[in-house]
């Protein structure tokens, strides 16, 4: 599943201000509300569900990357967004490093395959150090989007 299939371009935040795990999740969920991708009255429920998932084990998968996510019945297709923290946030990552790159995913409960394929794409791209580095240096939402599109084009070509 390509980035452009699930990332809401209007919700990309290249310079989030939150400094805590819940703060980041809240800011990213709010960005999806602002982009009209999730209903505002579902926001609290989604934030709680994502935090509950984090309680089971951090989605900070190392290399300065976290993939907070949940299933939620209020969405009918996988939606996601990207955020970047310039200073890094303590996300209780598996390798202990602060997290700078966040991919937040909300998927319908009955579509586990889509979720898995989104994770696959994110993981595949994030193994590339150049991709991570360039993403962290992106100046604005459209820079981020352009990089994601480029990554999509490369994964089709390969």
């Amino acid at each position: 599943m390509k980035f452009s299939d699930f990332v809401a371009v209007e919700a990309i935040r290249p310079n989030i201000v939150a400094t805590s795990k819940e703060g980041v999740i809240r800011e990213m969920t709010q960005s999806l509300v602002d982009a009209g991708k999730i209903a505002s009255n579902e926001m609290e429920s989604i934030v709680k569900a994502i935090m509950k998932r984090e309680d089971l084990g951090s989605t900070g998968i190392g290399r300065g990357v976290a993939v907070p996510h949940t299933k939620h019945p209020s969405v009918n297709r996988l939606i996601g967004t990207v955020a970047i923290s310039q200073q890094g946030v303590d996300f209780e990552s598996l390798d202990g490093d602060p997290v700078q790159l966040f991919f937040l995913l909300v998927s319908p409960p009955d579509r586990p395959g889509d979720h898995l394929r989104a994770l696959e794409n994110i993981s595949r791209q994030l193994r590339d150090d150049t991709f991570c580095k360039t993403l962290k240096e992106a100046a604005g939402p459209h820079d981020v989007w352009r990089l994601l599109e480029e990554a999509d084009a490369q994964s089709i070509a390969s």
């Binding site: 709680k48 309680d55 994110i122 993981s123 595949r124």
Partner: protein
Amino acid sequence: MMFGDCLKKPTRRASPRDLVMNDQPIESPMNQTHSREVIVALEQGLHARPADLFAREARRWQSRIEVVGNAQRVDGKSILDLLTLAAEEGTRLVVEATGPDAREAVDAIGSLFDQNFATEVESVSHPNTTDPEKQPPGDASGEQAVV
């Protein structure tokens, strides 16, 4: 009894000489490779949480651990690598370990699959949006509403 003894194949055991050689013989326990096929039985596939459990278990062993499946060969000690398998329910994978503790490593990882990564992985309930009273566990208060 004598006849039975004759049928036994001589087995090669590591001699002290093996240990001082720089190039270890292929039969050395240090180089043993062990593998096992496993099937992903998780309804959600091998998603982030079980991939985490897999990689954690794999990192406990000295052996190199690789996973083959979906036309890929990935590092079993890396969550990122495991997630790129996109192994859905029903996917067949081969767990392959090479090193001094290869057999133990494969057995340990195999039992994760045998136990279907314990029930906790799948027990993440869907949030009930119609029930505003419902509290997630692990609230900052540390209190449990229901014991």
